[in-house]
């Protein structure tokens, strides 16, 4: 059980690194586009499009890590003013709601990806990317979110995953 918990946390963290690499890749691709277009007169057919996919990927892969490190913004008006017991209950409700949202996002995300795959939708560009590929980030990110919220529920109101960086 403990090992599964640790593995899950590690998985979320490595997804976070992957998200970071996607942001780096976007930076490099966009920079390359600028140089290639403005100084060599050769705009690329791929930089803009792949950058957009990469940033979508970085959001869905990174959002579970943001949950685990309490980087998602909360409004602290009331939570800071109630006693520990109430705060604990609030935390359970919130993580439960987060889990519910993630489950819906994941399930319907999978259905959406499957439909895109079945229809054979491709991007309206020169790359003709099968659109189910970038859309796959949604259910993958959704599964990571589900794991993150389950870990939070196990933690109770202790910020175990949080603030370690």
């Amino acid at each position: 059980m403990n090992r599964l918990y640790k593995f899950s946390d590690l998985l979320i963290k490595y997804a976070g690194y992957l998200a970071g690499i996607l942001i780096f890749a976007t930076t490099l691709m966009t920079f390359y586009e600028v140089i290639s277009r403005s100084f060599f007169g050769m705009p690329t057919a791929w930089a803009t499009e792949l950058s957009t996919y990469a940033i979508i990927g970085s959001c869905f892969l990174g959002t579970a890590y943001a949950v685990r490190t309490y980087a998602h913004i909360t409004v602290d008006l009331l939570v800071n003013r109630v006693n520990d017991a109430a705060r604990r209950i609030f935390a359970y409700i919130c993580n439960g709601l987060g889990l519910l949202f993630s489950a819906i996002l994941t399930w319907y995300g999978f259905k959406h990806v499957f439909m895109t795959f079945e229809l054979g939708v491709i991007s309206t560009s020169l790359l003709r990317i099968p659109m189910y590929l970038p859309e796959l980030f949604i259910p993958i990110g959704g599964v990571l979110l589900i794991i993150a919220f389950i870990l939070q529920l196990i933690d109770g109101n202790v910020h175990k995953g949080g603030d370690h960086l």
């Binding site: 277009r37 403005s38 007169g41 050769m42 705009p43 057919a45 930089a47 803009t48 499009e49 959406h112 439909m115 895109t116 229809l119 054979g120 939708v121 491709i122 991007s123 309206t124 560009s125 020169l126 003709r128 659109m131």
Partner: protein
């Protein structure tokens, strides 16, 4: 669907039929004031009136609900009952829809109308029905042109070396075929991109060029009518099949009337906005009829690409337009 087109709409009005209540949400992404938008507003109003208010048409313009790209799947999953977006977007799902992006398929407004009311239109309608959308209307947007900052484009050779902002697969292929490079940038950045000459030119209809103030940031306009932009009003097939027959008839007839009205407006609007761009100081080059073959010849690679990608339906469509 279009076999109903010649029935006179007065028949339904006179019969004073009862319609079952229904709510239809229709989303599209064109600014109000555009002739297609006006057509859609009128379409909705007529249906509400003729059904004595039994059919409630809720219109979402300007992409306030869905963008052009979202429309396909939202329509297929019943997020909205009706949606209107460009054929270019549909070509990502139904390759035959790319036919409107094949350069110089139509040379006149009337040609497009005739084709869409005949076998050509039927092929496209049946391809769309295969994925689950019934086509109610082909809304003509108008001919596509090129605006740029570098030089007057008086022949395909003049494109060589230019960087042109592009959307869509086949228009980008055409830009390449003419020796220019397609540039992909966000819609919100095109105005600035033209102003600062990050790109040399862009392509669009003259109606959109007026709407987006292209005259402020580009000097030259080439009227080569290389493409005929088409917008598709689709309805979710399942939703449609559940509608009572008289409602279906009412909607189809109104759609056909609107389609005709939009087609007439398209010609007038293209002419009007071209004049506006001239008046605002753009230098316009209109390709003479006897030079069109040069432009068409240089665009032939795009025909081949389309034929490869759109399969049998694509070849049939090309045969029909080529036979004229």
């Amino acid at each position: 669907a279009c076999s109903n087109g010649d029935e006179t709409p007065k028949e339904t009005e006179a019969s004073g039929e009862e319609y079952e209540p229904a709510t239809i949400r229709l989303a599209y992404n064109l600014p109000s004031g555009h002739h297609i938008s006006e057509g859609i507003e009128e379409f909705a109003k007529k249906i509400e009136e003729k059904s004595n208010g039994q059919i409630d048409m809720q219109i979402f313009a300007n992409g306030q609900l869905l963008s052009d790209t979202d429309m396909n799947q939202s329509l297929l999953t019943g997020g909205v009952e009706m949606g209107m977006n460009s054929s270019t977007i549909w070509s990502s799902t139904v390759p035959a829809m790319g036919i409107f992006d094949v350069p110089y398929v139509f040379e006149a407004y009337e040609e497009a109308g005739e084709a869409l009311n005949g076998e050509f239109g039927d092929i496209l309608r049946s391809e769309m029905e295969d994925v689950g959308v019934k086509v109610l209307m082909f809304g003509d947007y108008g001919f596509g042109q090129f605006a740029n900052n570098k030089r007057p484009l008086e022949s395909p050779e003049d494109f060589r070396g230019l960087k042109i902002r592009s959307v869509g697969t086949l228009p980008s292929e055409l830009i390449q075929a003419y020796g220019a490079s397609p540039v992909f940038m966000g819609g919100g950045e095109v105005y600035m991109g033209l102003q600062r000459q990050t790109v040399d030119g862009a392509t669009s209809g003259t109606t959109a060029m007026v709407q987006r103030s292209y005259d402020e940031v580009t000097d030259y306009l080439t009227i080569n009518n290389y493409t005929y932009f088409e917008f598709i009003l689709g309805v979710n097939q399942e939703f449609w099949d559940d509608l009572p027959e008289n409602t279906q008839t009412l909607i189809e007839e109104t759609a056909n009337e609107t389609e005709e009205w939009i087609r007439q407006q398209t010609k007038l609007e293209d002419e009007r906005t071209l004049q506006v761009l001239k008046d605002r100081g753009m230098e316009v080059y209109e390709v003479p009829d006897d030079e069109l073959d040069i432009w068409k010849e240089a665009a032939m690679p795009v025909w081949e690409i389309f034929e490869e990608e759109a399969g049998e339906a694509g070849s049939e469509l090309l045969d029909i337009v080529d036979g004229e």
